[in-house]
Symmetry: C2
Subunit: 335 residues, 2 copies
């Protein structure tokens, strides 16, 4: 097996986040599911945007956020995702490249436009996301740079993108390519609604030993395992994937690998400004430790530190020097 050219290559949605603070009342008025992610069509996106206060645009997309974090930590990364030939597509491409991530998927001509996610941030820092997938769901299998996939130590896949058909085919092919090259496959479940729709697919991938590292949050774990209790969910899944990482927001996170279990508390933050990207950056920190051969405990701590940074400001991409934060923490002294 040749040495990996990239630490991590990811396939995910190429989204620009449109974010604004809002009162809790507005969430109710608009009939939004607070804290969740909902797919919206053009008409609903317009309705929600019209109801939104003055906003700011910051590149997002779950796996893309994770790569931005990994790159900030020092990892070599590449991203595959579909933008349209429009201004938001240029914004997305600029931001991910400026974060040090290779991104060569050609922009798609014509409609629909680049994906955007309308994010309402309530005073408690919780984000409520409404995603217009646009061009993102038309990532064709042909856009897959197979030599690049084969050259990355880890292939990271975003569950959100399992929903539309073309990217799902691309991801299935990517798994084959990565496996044939002897690489690891990491998967984030993304949202429980994705599991509700594609749980059988995911369980089959797991049963076929095609997922090496699985990221879930508490709710996704419950949906995937049909176990409402956290510990029962862990027990049901732990033996089936080489590395299982379960995040629990303010309650920290657990990782289980080959019978070894490690836990970490959430990193304290002065003020939770915007939780967008918390899971994405947790995955970044964990993967950084993991690809560097660090212990579960150290990897979890890195995840917690990266998540804490991203929830302390608006936007799902890191702003502080993540490498300095991690290297200056006691995570650096763990095995």
């Amino acid at each position: 097996m040749p040495e990996a050219r990239y630490d991590v290559i990811a396939i995910g949605n190429a989204i620009v986040d449109v974010m604004a603070p809002c009162a809790d009342d507005l969430i109710e008025e608009l009939g939004l599911a607070k804290g969740g992610m909902t797919l919206v069509d053009t008409a609903r996106a317009k309705e929600l945007y019209d109801a939104m206060g003055p906003a700011r645009e910051i590149s997002g997309g779950s796996a893309a956020n994770t790569l931005a974090g990994l790159s900030a930590l020092g990892a070599q990364c590449a991203f595959i995702g579909q933008v349209a030939q429009d201004q938001l597509g240029e914004v997305f491409a600029h931001d991910i490249r400026a974060a040090g991530v290779d991104f060569d998927t050609p922009a798609r001509a014509g409609d629909p436009p680049t994906a955007r996610c309308l994010i309402f941030v309530t005073p408690d820092g919780e984000r409520t996301m409404n995603t217009f997938l646009g061009a993102s769901q038309y990532l064709p299998p042909a856009a897959l740079a197979e030599d690049v996939v084969a050259s990355a130590a880890v292939l990271y896949l975003e569950g959100y993108l399992w929903d539309p058909e073309e990217p799902r085919s691309a991801m299935r092919r990517a798994i084959e390519v990565a496996r044939a090259a002897g690489r690891k496959v990491a998967f984030t479940a993304s949202e429980s609604f994705v599991i509700e729709r594609h749980g059988d697919d995911f369980r089959a991938l797991i049963a076929d030993n095609l997922i090496d590292i699985l990221f879930v949050n508490e709710k996704e774990l419950a949906t995937l395992t049909s176990e409402s209790q956290f510990e029962a969910g862990l027990a049901a899944l732990a033996g089936k994937v080489p590395v299982l990482v379960a995040t629990r927001s303010a309650k920290g996170a657990v990782a289980i690998s080959e019978g070894v279990r490690a836990e970490v508390a959430a990193e304290p933050v002065d003020a939770v400004v915007d939780t967008t990207g918390a899971g994405d950056l947790f995955a970044a920190g964990f993967l950084w430790g993991h690809v560097r051969g660090r212990s579960l405990q150290a990897s979890l701590r890195m995840g917690a530190i990266c998540a804490a940074e991203v929830i302390s400001h608006y936007g799902a991409r890191p702003e502080a020097d993540l490498a300095a934060l991690v290297n200056g923490s006691e995570a650096a002294t763990l095995p």
Copy 2:
């Protein structure tokens, strides 16, 4: 004279700011004039964007920022400015309307795209602006809603927009309309380079008593009066406009009206994050006091409070509740 329907109507550039933190070294490497505003063409804009780190997009434009501040304070405002029919144009239109400002200038079809300003923010919080004017400079005199201009207590004009020909004609016409309706004209000089190019125009407007309220910073005052000393500059200009407001960044501001002089210190801030919009929001606070018939001193204090809010975060539009800040300050107790 009928009662004014709007407190302030402004004509200005319709710009989306593209902002990123950067090291001082990069400013030098790119040959930028730190702290200034430079007009850039398509090629230079691309070069600078390529060199910029991950950015965020926040609506800007000097006069538009001032209106966003005035609206947050409780004023009724309308904006006239030119965007293109593109995504950044939609972003600008959304944000100004969401700020409570009426904005009805139709978007312009075809090239060039909506204006953007590439803003490099150094660790000291200083912003270095590079503006691609795009559609903004094609505001046609026909876009002037003359009945709206006539119905606003104050017409506020942005010096930046004096540079391109079509908007200059629109502004000249707007001054006539406002004057014919017995309204006041406020003018911000915007940048000393504008005065270098159009100083004769501005001095003629002043000599013809067409400017009632003039906003300048220290450098603009010097350029306009050819007096390098601040006090000499003030003395040269004070008798020529009914209200002169001169801002001096961290040194506070001075206002002179009919022989009365008032001064205010800069409002202390914990940390200057990004000075973009400081002058714009100072103008907002001052005008709010002025249109409400408050004293020069109270109006200056309101300006200082609004400027302090906007430099404490990224972006040139207010984020905190400006009305609460002003009403909770001792400015509320001044005459």
